[in-house]
Symmetry: C2
């Protein structure tokens, strides 16, 4: 058991880099990476950091030298032998390897590509340009570094005991949530909190707390390194970047409309019918479901990510019914700004009607709300998203207009093509 | 910084004895020990443990083998060279050594004497019979061992994270009290919590929290080992055992009445006018003050230990005034069952009227109230007191009849001799 307060107090960058392994990333980056490797090796994609919490002037808080040091450290990493062995050992139901020898060989040779960094109006402009299969790897480490450097900037001015009490309070808070979640048993919860975590050690602690506290109710963690070290399941499927790039590359409106389904068609081929969880909201859930070919309704589950979760779940149940499916065989995974009370609300709404899974993210691994003066450790809403593919602007709409991304004219075009009407705005907490 | 949860989880007796040094005791035991060494080397005194919290059946909770092991370990201890050096270096105002070369030489050769242990009605009967100068040394280690073995009996069934959360909650609680006490500044607080501490590591943590949290407001700790290691003041003066033994040895009622004052006469001679803090309540504060010779009023201060503290403070102020003393030059030390709110109440009652000091004990070093199921870690009211001196029963009355000790007939005789009337009972919390 690591004494986090001591480590934080003593940390020097040389012994405590923020990202310490190629595997300190979300599992779905590797799953998507393999599909990109198989099908889109020459596609070039630019990713960029976007801080939606504009009131937090990150460039005033985080030293640019420290940021470069951490990013450069990531560029020095390569997959270790043990990590490679662990990846090879990940199987679907003990039968089929998740990762092909080719992809693992590529990953062994992989080094993080160059980044572009400058300051603009109190924020960092941090972007990654290059082959998609490489730039995609930056999303999680870049976010984790910015989030942890922000924490460290606050922590460095705190005394030894202030730190110990800070972590004592944060631990007690996590544990109270875990004890509460236990009362919902059976409940299935996974850690999805890598990107906006308070820090690596803290995420590792949270995962261990879930292992001990939830027992059977703990599904695993999206973080590959922690999954490997703590010997739990690595969890994840796919994300918005696939439909966003497929859409950006569409040569006409027909291809654009089809892009989200083409992602699924490729995916089920690559994963041989495993990992079939739909992420339907990239260009509006309702339109996606209405126009989906019938084979999509045969997929195992759905991820509800930007709509009110109860509304989103009801919509999925109704849709499955119209397609002749029994919702009780289906899985709904909730992952948007979850906290314990929200898990309970969703759990009570759907228990017995559908299988449930919860991807608990930032409010698991970074709930320091109110624990530092002026909310200096409160989590922020920061993302790393596709900006363009082969020079063409990428667009995301989602079910929440405050999360829409892309040039205004393109957003309008996508809304028209995907027949997205009025959307209800929800505040993006994290 | 020690990660207490880990140490508690991993502890095995061999590497984690409860009492690890002759100096893991209260400073006043050595100050009193020196007076006993100088004046009463042949006096034989029996001490015995008494658990006033009879509902807690200690013999059912603590294994007798473990108790013997810990007590035997104490008997293997001797003063180390560094400890001896530290004792020699303790001076009054940098001028006069507190401990004589003779007494330190004796202490270097000292080994804890035999103990007598048996079970009776769910409790341990643990007593120490022999030369006073030796048996007096058992009080603090015996109590610390029983209290910590009780904690360990509860902790051993807890999981790794349960333990970490337990300490996280206890730490947050201590820190909240410290932050509250800081608002009273200037305030003078010392740790008096060795005997009924949750555990050694925990007391050590609490002292460090006071050092960082209170700054100038932290006076020091009564624990010699911690004072030495943390480089803070060792605090303490004298206790009830001196008047109790002097009284038990009195050959007639005149000597008995005089005994409490004889203690002070010897003390001021031995300590050359330093450490002049009266402990007036052994046989009732009011009678003690009324009959005190005038030189007692010239002493620096008073310790209020068993009366309602505000009442006791007012009584001392009034008494000093009748003796022509200015209370603002005087010091009142409060030490009975203090907690932060009680410190604040006393502080507000006397601030500006008298100098104040607070000896914060059990509710500093053992406030785990409500943190384990069924209050299994709530502190108990357990003491180690003089039972007899040279075969004659010892008696304590104090200002709180629930704390009276000794044979009933002797209690009545003492009440008559010391003219103690009706007393108000106060619940003994710790």
């Amino acid at each position: 058991m690591t004494d986090i307060a001591t480590r934080v107090y003593n940390h020097t960058w040389k012994i405590d880099p923020i990202v310490r392994s190629v595997l300190d990333t979300d599992f779905y980056k590797l799953l998507m990476g393999q599909t990109i490797f198989n099908r889109h090796r020459t596609t070039r994609v630019t990713f960029g950091i976007h801080n939606r919490s504009t009131r937090i002037r990150l460039a005033d808080i985080i030293d640019i030298g420290a940021l470069r040091e951490q990013l450069d450290h990531v560029r020095s990493l390569s997959l270790t032998r043990g990590e490679s062995t662990w990846l090879r050992g990940n199987m679907f139901y003990g039968k089929r390897q998740m990762f092909s020898p080719d992809y693992i060989a590529w990953l062994e040779g992989f080094r993080f590509p160059a980044y572009h960094l400058e300051k603009w109006d109190g924020q960092y402009e941090l972007s990654f340009e290059g082959p998609w299969v490489e730039t995609t790897m930056w999303e999680i480490p870049a976010l984790a570094i910015i989030n942890e450097l922000r924490s460290r900037a606050v922590l460095k001015d705190m005394g030894k005991f202030e730190l110990q009490i800070l972590y004592a309070r944060a631990m007690a808070r996590v544990w109270e949530k875990v004890e509460f979640l236990k009362t919902l048993a059976p409940v299935n919860i996974a850690d999805f909190g890598t990107r906006r975590r308070h820090g690596f050690l803290w995420q590792d602690w949270c995962v261990q707390a879930l292992i001990e506290g939830l027992g059977e109710g703990f599904l695993g963690t999206s973080n590959c390194l922690i999954a490997m070290r703590r010997e739990v399941e690595a969890t994840g499927t796919n994300a918005h970047e696939l439909p966003m790039v497929y859409a950006a590359l569409a040569r006409n409106e027909q291809e654009l409309r089809w892009a989200p389904y083409q992602v699924l068609a490729d995916w089920q081929e690559d994963y041989d019918g495993n990992l079939r969880v739909i992420l339907p909201d990239t260009y509006g859930t309702s339109g996606f479901l209405a126009h989906a070919p019938d084979w999509v309704a045969h997929w195992t589950g759905i991820r509800i990510d930007s709509k009110d979760p109860v509304e989103g779940g009801e919509e999925a149940i109704a849709w499955w019914r119209t397609r002749g499916q029994d919702p009780r065989d289906k899985l709904a995974i909730f992952s948007d700004a979850l906290d314990a009370d929200e898990v309970a609300r969703i759990h009570h709404a759907f228990k017995g009607r559908i299988r449930l899974g919860f991807g608990w993210g930032t409010l698991l691994t970074n709930d320091f709300r109110g624990l530092a003066a002026h909310g200096a450790l409160d989590p922020i809403s920061i993302v790393c998203k596709v900006i363009s593919a082969n020079g063409r602007a990428a667009v995301k709409l989602s079910d929440n207009p405050t999360k829409a991304m892309g040039p205004a004219a393109e957003i309008e075009r996508y809304k028209r093509v995907f027949e997205v009407g009025e959307q209800v705005a929800r505040r993006a907490v994290v």
